[in-house]
């Protein structure tokens, strides 16, 4: 590079200032330039700012909620230790009853309570709860529970129940409840080979409800509440359950002191008295330790899960920002060129755009953090009016991470998004200042981009297909991994390549609508003028819509597959059986009033009376059978096709039963019983029941115990499962007969609810990204209106009505939004189905399910949003008088 020679000194007035070397230009003019340009572009930047604001608010809310979850968890955990002063703990659960005694003997210790929970099944009528039970401590300070009614339990058969559990079981103080628990035999059984083991028996005891307890600090809110029995009873139950050879161990002993102020001495003394203890901690220290161990798990998973969606929102916001800055740079190109003419170097223009992005990012992020904090605070204010069963803090607690992480992320995303536009700004040639052209278009997309996009798309699709294949062959783990990776890579490819194909698709759509009039034709042509911008705007929407559509499709496909699987897994919805048996050991006959009661329950599709029996085969084996008429069986099964070929003289043998009872490969089978023998033709079935089926007549040939002893019922399609089950429970318990209700329908319903809830949350989180993308559509539209002010004025001057101008912009907005939405929906359908196949391919064939309702909603939202997005720009366009616009530079 040629060095400049000394210029001839010709200045008659004053001497030239020495100018510093290039690149050392002060930041000051850049900053002032930036601020000046920002002031002129406030409106244009505002929409981009809102995109960042929403995303950072999202991140802030996530972090704040994460903190609340942590602190709520801490509150609940620490509530469990009630007002204990100290906790003697052992990290691997090795404290013994002797340690507890030793601790109790320490001077100044008022009471010691070992942390111990027992579980038992409580039942009354047809209703069953699986209840956790703790001992009533010697000192009130060691329990977070308070007595609401009645007395604390004292005797061997006393129990105090949580108020809500008692209500669910329909119990009051003084009532009795059945408790099932296991007792290990005192003497071991000796095997033939000399080894010994303890057998155990299930016993049912009647317990008296002496009191109702409440949990004011919600210590057990998330574990279904805690019932209380006396310490002696609990010790007995634990001992019964674990057998004579083992003694219970604890992870913590809660200690109450006579004088809480003498904490340190007591701590010392306890450490000496229980040398095996890992730690002697204050309640607070111990709770912190417990929460720290927990938060490695669920809290992190929650944060990562939700932050992933915040990430999607940020990516979409980044696209909106990039788009806005690209337009701004294009619009300012003459100004930038002028600056280059008067000595601005490329770095100054580059920095100017980046500084603008940084300022925008910072302002928007600060606003986002504030908005996020306000939203969570508002949530906390209204939360108490919903009964969440969890004590929430009254105010949010801000910490450095909650404020700084969203700020940093927001500014960073804005900066990264502005890099390409900034480079475009620095490339504006000085000569552009002298050209009469309005807004020079930015450089077109290059070959490298095309190659990269193709590679990513093809490679990603290959991975995706591979993942589906793996899913089908049973490698679901690897399959999902490959599918997620492939899906992400191909989506990136599609986005990178959007500039090539998306405008063409928009053009095709445009030609379709273009037939409807000049305004529509104009709109279609406008979308083709700046392919890059059209592509970027539609892409932002496409990402959001793709993800939403993917989740709904994936869930719909998964739902159908899981439904099929659940039908097969649980062929019968509900079963009512008797709990007593006759002298022969067969279940007692079903009392008639129960049958009537069950038949009286609405919302049941079918009720079948069946007889269960254990038949003997000729080779001294047994096989459990169920007798039912073919009509009754078919009516009650969720997969009736499994009963095909079943009739008199046949034994319907499900594959699993054949395998378990050695009946494989047999054409006929002879069953025997007290009444005789019967030879039946084997009809194989793919039903997944645990019994074989025969007709009642055939059963009568081998046993006189043919009276129905069970009822099978199917819940009607579309019925409220929980309500139906509850109605059934109520109906059955009203008969006061010894029967129990079991059935898969509740479990199955729970599965479906989990899918629905997760899906709802995921779609809700992704919707944030869609909202941001729609803001992007509005922004692009208004930017292009500003850019076309003169042109629009010219069109008005040659006879375009204001209505037509509005129409043009509306069609343009709807075209961009519609193209983004349609393409996103199509991509989402494919991704969703592929993902469901990879995950569930080994469970069953995953059908390609189009969730039409959701698809319709997404399309409608996009089109309406495109229309709405055109309103403000259209007003601006219409307001400009033709003459004024033409005169304006």
């Amino acid at each position: 590079m040629t060095a400049t020679t000394t210029p001839p000194t010709t200045t008659p007035v004053v001497s030239t200032d020495s100018t510093p070397a290039l690149g050392g230009g002060s930041r000051y003019p850049t900053a002032r330039l930036t601020l000046g340009q920002m002031r002129r572009s406030t409106g244009r930047l505002a929409a981009a700012g809102i995109a960042i604001l929403i995303s950072t608010a999202f991140v802030t809310v996530t972090l704040l909620v994460g903190n609340i979850v942590t602190s709520t968890t801490y509150d609940q955990v620490s509530a469990r230790y009630a007002d204990a002063d100290l906790v003697v703990s052992h990290s691997s659960w090795e404290l013994t009853p002797e340690d507890a005694e030793a601790a109790g003997a320490v001077d100044g210790v008022a009471a010691v309570q070992a942390q111990q929970t027992y579980f038992t099944e409580l039942s009354r009528g047809g209703k069953v709860v699986y209840q956790s039970i703790a001992a009533h401590p010697a000192d009130e300070r060691l329990s977070p529970l308070r007595l609401a009614e009645g007395d604390w339990p004292q005797g061997q058969t006393d129990i105090a129940l949580p108020t809500d559990v008692a209500e669910r079981l329909g119990l009051g103080v003084g009532d009795t409840v059945n408790a099932n628990r296991w007792i290990v035999d005192p003497e071991p059984e000796v095997q033939e080979d000399g080894s010994t083991w303890y057998d155990n028996q299930e016993v049912t005891e009647k317990l008296t409800v002496t009191g109702l307890v409440e949990d004011p600090y919600q210590a057990y809110a998330l574990t279904g509440g805690m019932a209380v029995v006396s310490a002696a009873t609990l010790d007995q139950w634990v001992a019964d359950d674990s057998g004579p050879d083992s003694s219970p161990t604890y992870d913590a002993l809660l200690v109450a002191l006579d004088d809480p102020a003498a904490l340190e001495e007591a701590r010392q003394a306890l450490a000496e008295a229980v040398p095996s203890a890992t730690d002697v901690l204050t309640t607070q220290e111990y709770a912190e330790q417990v929460v720290a161990e927990m938060s490695g798990g669920q809290n992190i998973v929650f944060l990562v899960f939700v932050l992933a969606f915040a990430g999607v929102a940020l990516v979409v916001a980044g696209l909106v920002i990039a788009n806005t800055f690209q337009v701004l740079v294009a619009q300012r190109s003459r100004m930038l060129a002028l600056l280059r003419c008067i000595g601005a170097d490329t770095g100054q223009l580059y920095r100017s755009v980046l500084l603008e992005a940084a300022i925008l990012g910072l302002i928007a992020s600060v606003a986002g953090v504030v908005l996020g904090a306000l939203l969570v605070q508002a949530g906390l204010l209204v939360a108490p009016s919903f009964d969440l069963g969890v004590p929430l803090p009254g105010t949010i607690s801000l910490n450095a991470a909650v404020v700084l992480v969203p700020l940093a992320v927001g500014v960073l995303v804005t900066l990264v998004a502005a890099v390409t536009p900034a480079r475009a700004a620095s490339r504006v040639a000085p000569l552009a200042a002298l050209r009469p052209s309005d807004a020079p278009t930015l450089r077109g997309a290059g070959k490298v981009r095309a190659v990269l996009a193709t590679l990513l798309t093809v490679g990603g699709v290959a991975l995706l297909v591979g993942g589906m294949a793996m899913g089908r062959t049973g490698q679901a783990d690897l399959g999902i991994l490959a599918a997620v990776l492939g899906g992400s890579v191909s989506l990136v490819g599609v986005i990178v390549g959007a500039v090539f194909w998306l405008p063409r698709v928009a053009g095709a759509f445009g030609r379709l609508v273009g037939t409807s009039g000049p305004a529509a034709r104009l709109a279609a042509a406008n979308t083709q003028r700046n392919p890059r911008r059209t592509a970027a705007t539609a892409t932002a929407l496409l990402i959001g819509v793709t993800l939403v559509s993917m989740m709904t499709t994936g869930a719909a496909s998964a739902r159908v597959t899981l439904d099929q699987e659940l039908d097969a897994q649980y062929p019968v919805d509900l079963q009512v059986g008797t709990t007593s048996s006759d002298d022969e050991g067969n279940p007692s006959a079903m009392p008639g009033d129960v049958t009537d009661a069950v038949r009286g329950v609405g919302d049941l599709r079918a009720v079948a009376e069946v007889t269960t029996y254990v038949a003997e085969t000729t080779d001294e084996e047994v096989v459990p059978v169920v007798a039912a008429t073919p009509e009754a069986l078919t009516s009650v099964l969720n997969t009736p096709e499994g009963a095909e070929g079943f009739g008199p003289g046949t034994l319907l043998v499900p594959a699993g039963v054949a395998k378990n009872y050695g009946l494989e490969g047999r054409d006929t089978i002879t069953l025997s019983g007290p009444a005789g023998e019967v030879t039946l033709d084997v009809v194989p079935s793919d039903l997944r029941t645990h019994d074989a089926f025969l007709t009642p007549l055939d059963l009568a040939a081998i046993t006189p115990a043919v009276a129905p002893n069970a009822l099978w019922a199917g819940v009607a399609d579309g019925a409220d499962v929980a309500a139906t089950v509850a109605a059934l429970q109520d109906a059955v318990s009203a008969t006061e007969e010894a029967v129990e209700i079991s059935g898969a329908v509740v479990e199955r319903e729970a599965y479906q609810q989990v899918i629905d809830v997760i899906l709802g949350i995921v779609v809700g989180l992704l919707a944030v990204a869609v909202v941001i993308a729609l803001i992007g559509v509005a922004n692009t539209l208004s930017l292009s209106v500003i850019e076309r002010t003169r042109e629009n004025a010219m069109l008005r001057a040659i006879g375009l009505t204001t209505g037509q101008l509005r129409g043009t912009l509306a069609v343009e907005g709807m075209l961009i939004a519609g193209v983004g939405a349609v393409l996103g929906i199509v991509l989402g359908l494919v991704y969703g189905w592929a993902g469901a196949t990879a995950a569930l391919g080994n469970v069953g064939t995953v059908p390609f399910v189009v969730p039409w309702a959701e698809v319709g909603v997404m399309l409608a939202v996009a089109l309406v949003a495109g229309l709405v997005a055109s309103v403000v720009p259209a007003r601006a366009a219409v307001r400009t008088r033709p003459v004024a616009a033409l005169a304006a530079e």
């Binding site: 210029p7 100018t19 510093p20 002032r32 340009q37 100004m335 008067i342 000595g343 530079e889």
Partner: protein, 257 residues
Amino acid sequence: MSTQTAPVVRARSLSKTYGRGEAVVRALDGVDVDFEQGRFTAIMGPSGSGKSTLMHLLAGLDSASGGQVFLGETEITGLGDKALTRLRRDRVGFVFQQFNLLPMFTAEQNITLPVELAGGKVDRAWLGTLVETLGLGGRLTHRPGELSGGQQQRVAIARALIAQPEVVFADEPTGNLDSRSGAEVLSFLRRSVRELGRTIIMVTHDPSAAAYADRVVLIADGKIAGDISDPTPESAMAGLDALRTLEPAVTTGRTGA
């Protein structure tokens, strides 16, 4: 007024072609011309004759297809972007026909911007001189939107001169002005040369504008077609007419070296 000063800008066999094949346009075709220091020179020719192209090449705003341009001892044809930027900061000033000023800055901020971009300190005395010479007192705090077209061009002239460049290029600086404002701007340009000792090269198609210059270089079809010293509106007009009637190159007074 000296006529024997060294040339500050020189073009040698300068040519510029646009497009290719059938559509090729020879905008400049072997131009040799010198511009002396401390003089006000007008480049005049009919529309499309290559005036703007010549100016762009002389100022290093565009790359030549052939030939050389020197600013002082520096050959600017073939300089890289960094060197050209430095050149624009320190040694060259511009005044355009339109869109000269940044709308968000005041007149003063617009004037001092080049110095600030270069990271230098504004010479207040020189600024004062410029403001006085160009009659901008009392207008410094106004934004471009609040200034008349003529005032805007005077601010642009002040900006072009603030870094005391070796040469100022002006492309049709009066093209957008009414004749009164145009005359005003032109006399300010001439004052800048006479009183402040600056060098100005102005492109115009208007003989009466060219008459404000010390010298007129005529250009037609991308070639130098004449040279008029100390032009009057009449002599400039005659030169332009001679070009239109396709007469051979006219030369009056002293010929460019």
